[in-house]
Assembly symmetry: C2
Homo-oligomer: 223 residues x 2
């Protein structure tokens, strides 16, 4: 357990099973790269609400984008307390005991204040969000115009108060259960892209672009 | 858009893109069945925190289980305001414009108070959580003993204030972009189980159990 992005505050420190916790920035970046979306928690009228959001990251900054970003920002343009969590499921873990059934997973939790971005940073953020999913796609697509930029809300969160948690192991049964005649092990979970499907209104004769084809060929998708 | 689980409160009503919203309980159940984990938002020291959690559901009750459930319950045994969100990603959506890039997904948001369960309900809840991932596994595994039950925290949330949101369509480009020489369409995303892997300490001669084999054969995993 290293501590590059920290030291972690009392808030972000993984409280249970600290052997599964890892605060290394490289680990956090790898997990972010391995996930397609995050789940973002904010307060609305004093109550927690969790929303799936697209994201990208540049250096040590996370950028968030989603349909609710606008409404959140309308309410609080000076920033909102947020918690971003992204999780990849790597496998199901079967123990002899029901109690020790588990999952193998990698997750990142980033806490902090999300603030709106504008101007050049907004365009860089949108590029990062598109490129996070499909490297190379930004330069293939028609760039956003001024109206679209005004309609799009993007939030920025520094990756400072962050932690990663990883479980990557077989079942951990109690010693007295090991001889039980019950199968134990793991079932890996993988996510894949399948063949691209043309839009109904696609002009005839346009093939999937290099960025899309490259992503398809890369095989495994992200969690 | 129907409203069986409601009518939705002002809080849970999907505020943006209401054409993507669906409040039908059957839809909510189908999406819950299609996801392996949820992301749960609660308040800790007044700040939002989002944690991945296993879950199950019985009738109109959601049960949550995770390593942090215990610490949350220690703090507030009379229940905590929570928001449970589960999302399945079905595909990447490529538009001609960067602005209209999107995802096809199905998500459920359930808001309410999470309270601890005990006694028979706790065992039913744990069974539902194990069976949610792998139908038939509960009866194969060694049932929990009293010590394990005491060590396990399970939360209950009524599925009352709930909404579903679904996007399942091709790109929605502006009319003036349709003729651009840019590929547009979808890339489906699928999740699969691969072959079960025996635990290192598995007694020789035990094959994967029927529940595990059945799940493996069922093909596509959940999001």
């Amino acid at each position: 357990m290293t501590s590059v992005v920290g030291p972690p505050s009392e808030f972000s420190r993984v409280r249970r099973l600290p052997d599964r916790a890892d605060y290394d920035m490289a680990t956090i970046r790898r997990i972010l790269a391995a996930t397609m979306i995050g789940h973002v928690g904010v307060l609305r009228e004093g109550r927690p609400v969790v929303i799936p959001m697209l994201f990208g990251h540049v250096d040590d900054v996370l950028y968030l984008h989603g349909s609710v970003a606008s409404q959140l920002l309308r309410a609080m343009s000076d920033g909102i307390e947020a918690c971003f969590t992204a999780t990849v499921i790597d496998g199901l873990v079967y123990a002899r005991s029901a109690f020790h059934h588990s999952m193998n997973y990698r997750s990142v939790v980033i806490a902090g204040t999300a603030t709106p971005v504008d101007g050049d940073e907004k365009i860089r953020a949108l590029r990062a969000i598109v490129e996070h999913i499909t490297p190379g796609r930004w330069d293939e697509a028609r760039p956003p115009n001024d109206l679209e930029l005004r309609q799009t809300a993007v939030l920025r969160m520094p990756i400072e108060e962050a932690s990663a948690k990883i479980r990557a192991a077989g079942p951990a049964d109690d010693a007295e259960d090991l001889a039980l005649p019950i199968w134990a092990g793991q079932m890996p979970v993988t996510t894949h892209f399948t063949d691209p499907v043309d839009a109904d209104d696609l002009v005839q004769g346009i093939d999937p672009s290099p960025a899309v084809t490259r992503l398809r060929r890369s095989g495994a998708a992200r969690g």
